[in-house]
């Protein structure tokens, strides 16, 4: 008996069942979906966005400028005209805190970005090359790692002199080490895996493997570390400005505003309160975002 197999086209109503219902998701889409479900992370994201927006548009919408002095209206408490009050030279504290936010955030964003770039290249190379090169490179990192970060930043600031650029340089030179360690660890783990071998077999060079395979695959930890670095940089910057090694007047940063407020803490505590609350909110916001990202970007935590 020959049982002839007949191939009929599927009836239209059944064709639908063959379709993949949902569009496939990229890694980042999937991570974003999980990030959105995390209330703390979303709260952090909102806080960070509000602070960044305020710093961006705050100085523009206010009728005062950060350097404009009004010696008739010094140390005024918060009022309708001056939402955050005025400082000892009659400058509007709201604008100063917002401008300070611009400086503090700008410094921390740029410093984080640059130190990440350095750290990724350095750590990626050390991890991929391995052997003696890795040994020497990581010895250097270990030496920098052992020196307390603040001491090193302070020495750099004394050496370079105060100013915006120099804070950037000092923070960058301190922060890249952390990223280098993380990327190296990731790359060392990943380089033994099959997809790297497959790329190698197909004739990919070291550079291509590093930039197209190893680094994209370590993006999760890199992003999380970078997010955690931003509040750290805000902290370091405000600390340096607080002990008088950072931004100089009339420019302001959150740290220098706190430092200025210290002299008149007893009569005018609000002058410390406002910049301090912004530092804390930024730290908290970025920490929440970082925690949320760690959970969202880690495929092992998928439920």
């Amino acid at each position: 008996m020959t049982d002839r197999v007949r191939w009929d086209p599927l009836p239209p109503e059944l064709q639908a069942s063959e379709k993949i219902v949902r569009p496939s998701m990229t890694y980042l889409q999937d991570a974003w979906r999980r990030f959105r479900k995390n209330p703390a992370a979303m709260l952090g994201l909102t806080m960070v966005s509000v602070i960044v927006l305020l710093a961006l548009i705050g100085p523009a919408v206010s009728s005062h400028s950060y350097w404009e002095q009004d010696l008739d209206r010094t140390n005024e408490p918060p009022s309708a005209a001056y939402i955050f009050g005025t400082d000892s030279l009659g400058r509007d504290l709201f604008v100063r805190v917002m401008t300070g936010g611009r400086i503090s955030l700008l410094i921390s964003f740029i410093a984080t970005f640059v130190s990440c770039a350095i750290g990724v290249v350095y750590g990626g190379f050390a991890g991929y090359a391995g052997g003696r090169a890795d040994n020497v490179m990581m010895r250097v990192v270990d030496i920098i790692w052992t020196i307390p970060l603040m001491l090193y930043a302070i020495l750099l600031m004394v050496w370079l002199g105060t100013g915006l650029h120099n804070i950037l340089i000092a923070i960058t030179l301190v922060y890249w080490v952390n990223m280098a360690r993380i990327v190296r660890g990731q790359v060392m783990n990943l380089k033994e895996q099959e997809f790297v071998l497959a790329a190698l077999v197909q004739g990919a060079g070291s550079w291509r493997i590093l930039t197209r395979h190893l680094i994209p695959n370590s993006m999760g930890p890199i992003l999380v570390t970078a997010t955690m670095m931003i509040p750290g940089a805000v902290f370091t910057e405000s600390f340096l400005s607080f002990i008088g090694l950072g931004i100089s007047a009339p420019l302001a940063s959150w740290g220098s505003l706190c430092s200025d407020a210290l002299g008149a803490l007893r009569p005018y505590p609000y002058q410390l309160f406002f910049p301090a609350i912004f530092i804390c909110a930024t730290m908290l916001g970025f920490n929440f975002v970082g925690d949320g990202m760690r959970d969202a970007l880690d495929p092992r935590l998928r439920k």
């Binding site: 030496i143 052992t146 410390l272 301090a276």
Partner: protein, 306 residues
């Protein structure tokens, strides 16, 4: 084991050498120099000063002499305080910093570890949530804000604690909290998370299945196994806390090493700055070494070089 210790000591010697060299050359190439002042110094005075402190010698010779001095723990004279050596300054300022640091350290451990354990054992209870909230908050407040807030609330308004100095036990309360606040939050979170991780291990289930009392499960099985990350953190913490905080000592006017450090920045007193940096680095490296050796005692699984 011996090889491991040797390797660690070598690595630390290398680090210290790098710190000494780096700080020396940085401080000797700062634009302006130590005697640059607002008013013009006559050139012959400047020359006499430079001759007195051997700053007219070639840089490499100054470096060699400095290192030679370091080997016998002679950190040289202060550039700004006449007749005072850096050793004198350290001798004079270290006790205050060390006392305050010790108090803050004990405070961090006595509060942080129990809070972390409690938080992990009673997971998701109300106290746990409260502890986690405070610990998260504690990590976001910079020490200078915490210090000034404490002064404002407890000294200016409530008048419970004195503002500055270190005379009675009351003087220690606020600076210790300010100094330890961040570490306290960190230790609490660390103990909680590593305790939770340990409690999820199979050997805990085994212990419970065998009928070991809960108390023993927590303290003998879980706690001991969750101590490694805590020790890693608190080792270097001793070193940093004992050498004084720049901010806390400045705000509370405590004559410790941190205050001298900040003063030496503003006074451009480079030998003091160098000496204090190097002392900090030495203490920190020693702490790191001790922690490395302690690992083996706490956790036989990572007993080194068996």
């Amino acid at each position: 084991m011996a090889r491991f210790i040797l390797d660690r000591v070598f690595s630390i010697a290398l680090t210290l050498a790098a710190v000494v060299t780096l700080t020396f050359f940085m401080m000797h190439t700062v634009p302006g120099g130590p005697f640059a002042q607002d008013k013009e110094v006559p050139p012959e005075v400047l020359r006499a000063l430079e001759a007195k402190y051997h700053l007219d010698e070639p840089l490499y010779l100054q470096y060699v002499n400095y290192v030679k001095g370091l080997l016998v723990w002679d950190l040289g004279p202060s550039f700004q305080k006449i007749g005072v050596s850096v050793n004198d300054i350290i001798k004079q300022s270290m006790p205050a910093s060390a006392k305050l640091g010790a108090v803050a350290f004990v405070f961090v451990l006595l509060v942080g570890i129990p809070a972390g354990i409690y938080s992990a054992v009673r997971r998701d209870s109300l106290p746990d949530q409260a502890i986690r909230f405070v610990a998260t908050l504690g990590q976001t407040i910079p020490s200078f804000v915490l210090a000034t807030l404490l002064i404002y609330v407890f000294s200016s308004k409530l008048k419970i604690f004195p503002t500055f100095g270190l005379r009675t036990w009351k003087h220690f309360v606020l600076p210790s909290i300010a100094l330890g606040g961040y570490s306290l939050s960190f230790v609490t979170r660390l103990v909680r998370s590593s305790m939770l991780e340990a409690l999820g291990q199979d050997y805990i289930m085994t212990a419970r299945a065998k009928g070991v009392p809960e108390f023993q499960v927590f303290f003998k099985h879980a706690l001991r196994n969750s101590l490694i990350p805590v020790v890693t953190y608190i080792g270097p913490l001793i070193a940093t806390v004992v050498t004084g905080s720049f901010v806390v000592e400045k705000v509370f006017a405590i004559p410790g090493m941190g205050k001298f450090f900040v003063d030496s920045i503003t006074n451009r007193d480079y030998t003091v700055l160098m000496g204090l940096t190097i002392l900090d680095a030495i203490l920190l490296c020693a702490a790191v070494l001790i922690v490395d050796l302690l690992y083996g005692l706490i956790d036989p699984r990572i007993r080194v070089g068996k």
